[in-house]
């Protein structure tokens, strides 16, 4: 079988291949070192991109009241302008001019072509060094936490809590054999803490 092209590798990394082609390409990627490496690279970049988006923070000194005042001022200005400006011509009249339609179509084509040729291909995202993840191992039972999910796995069976946000706000490791992850719901602001732990008959820390 021929090697995966870039589009197939990217779709495979994201789990977005159509179900009728996924098994064959998946099998090839598993057997072919070069393709496996390409898929893995896409997978890492996907994670990095997600984390980069999540880690975006407002700059220190960002002034909310100033921004609020500016926005209120703009709204007031807009209202004032609306009061003194005559009502706009109907859209119908604008579209009747065929030259305008041609100009817009041409401009749209240029923008789309430019974006396609020079846009942010997945490969060009900068790497973010190191991201927090944790693992607790006890025999064949593994607890794990990464920025998007926290759970446990044993012999092919797995159970994972998925974070309410693209990345968990914080992961805590309990050295007695537990993992805890906290995330905030962006809509309600509600904090949810999920935890997985070893059963009490398998503790890693005990009193002498």
């Amino acid at each position: 079988m021929k090697h995966l092209n870039e589009a197939e590798a990217a779709l495979l990394a994201g789990g977005d291949l159509p179900f009728w082609t996924a098994p064959a390409l998946h099998t090839h990627a598993r057997l072919c070192g070069a393709c496996r490496a390409t898929v893995e690279e896409y997978r890492q970049q996907r994670e990095e991109l997600r984390e980069q988006a999540e880690n975006f923070r407002l700059p220190k000194g960002f002034d909310w009241p100033e921004l609020e005042a500016e926005m209120a001022g703009n709204i007031r200005l807009g209202a004032e302008v609306a009061r003194i400006t005559p009502p706009p011509r109907r859209l119908q009249e604008e579209w009747m001019d065929w030259r305008g339609v041609v100009a817009i179509c041409a401009l749209t084509t240029v923008v789309i072509t430019g974006w396609y040729l020079t846009g942010p291909a997945a490969r060009h995202y900068p790497r973010i060094p190191g991201w927090s993840q944790a693992r607790v191992e006890n025999g064949d039972l593994e607890l794990s936490a990464n920025p998007s999910e926290l759970g446990l796995k044993r012999q092919g069976s797995g159970f994972y809590f998925r974070s309410a946000t693209p990345t968990a706000t914080r992961v805590e490791v309990g050295l007695e054999g537990s993992l805890r992850s906290a995330s905030f719901d962006q809509d309600s602001g509600q904090l949810t803490v999920t935890q997985v732990s070893l059963a009490q008959d398998e503790p890693l820390l005990y009193e002498e």
Binding site: G15, F19, P23, R30, R57, L58, K60, G61, W64, P65, E68, P129, G130, Q133, A134, R135, E137, N138, G151, L152, K153, R154, Q155, G156, S157, G158, F159, Y160, F161, R162, S163, A164, R170, E172, V173, G174, L175, E176, G177, S178, A182, F184, Q186, G189, Q190, L191, T192, V193, T194, Q195, V196, S197, L198, D201, E202, L204, L205, Y206, E207, E208
Partner: protein
Amino acid sequence: MRSSASLFLFVAGALLAQSTRHQLNVTIPDGAPISVVSSEWGESRAAMRGAALVIDLKTSLRFRNNSKLRLRGVSLEVRTQDMAAGGKASVSVPSLDVYPGQDFPVKVDLRLLQPGAAGTDSGKAAVRVQLDGVLFEDMSFFGPNALQSRRILTAWELEARRDRQRLRAILAKSGENGLREEILENLARQEKRPRWDVRVARGPAALGGGDPVQLAFSKQADWPVEGIEAQATRSGNEIRLPEITVASRTNRPVRFVEYTLLARDKRGRTMAAGTLPSPVALRPQERAALRSNISIEIARGEEAVDVVSLTGVLSQVEFSNGEVWVPSRNGLDAIGLGADMPPSFEMQRLSSLYQRKGPQALIEELRRFD
């Protein structure tokens, strides 16, 4: 090829047909001060990934506070029929402010892995959610407490009150600008904190050689438990903590202690490597030894982090009567490690609120919990 395509169509059809058959069973003990208002699966999806069947399940459970008190936190145990043996899982929601008669949601977003598509129940999930405890504004608790929810929710609530109190004091003294400065400093500290990967595994209990690693305990005169000595050794990237001795500095019996372990690397960067929570029968003014059979590895991506010292900071104590102690902000500041300790969940929640909605929303939130 045609037969395999047919097989996939069959499997896909079967999964689609089964996707609505997931079972969700929510159990609330008799006499509980909360009740279930709604519990249904929302969006769910099943797909084959390699040799495993992956089932994504989403639900938003809705409960009602039937008590006469404001509810501060809730903890639920979550189980599935295929849950890996030897493990437990829970979902908790702290920092709530639910009035009597008011409803509140708890979101559960799960991904289940089932080996292969074999077996009659493949693609079908049965999830059981059971109340483990609820905490009220007067710190009273209700629930089976199988997962130590009473201690955990109480400690989070005490930390939340401590941190809200601090922010209120800053607001009263320095106004909105002071509050903004405090939150931005807190956010900057979180941003600067190194991001390390931690791996914990069961290791040999006995000392098997290795280089000693300095492990010190932070102490304050009014803290109820004091770390006396600890042995830590390092072999390659593995750090082992075979024994820790603690002493009671209170006249009340202690049944649980938790230390936060801060690791410092060669470059002077510090990060919380984890917490050491341990049940203990510590009588007043006596000592107890905690043994562990764990090894810890800390890495930054592929590169091992060269840990040169560890510091244990007492972060939680539970007395035999169920009361819980957490260190005060002044205590943490006094030992000079306040900035290195992970912020409380409440501090992170309030910082997040500030980021999303600005200072006025934060001030209103602080007043709401007055």
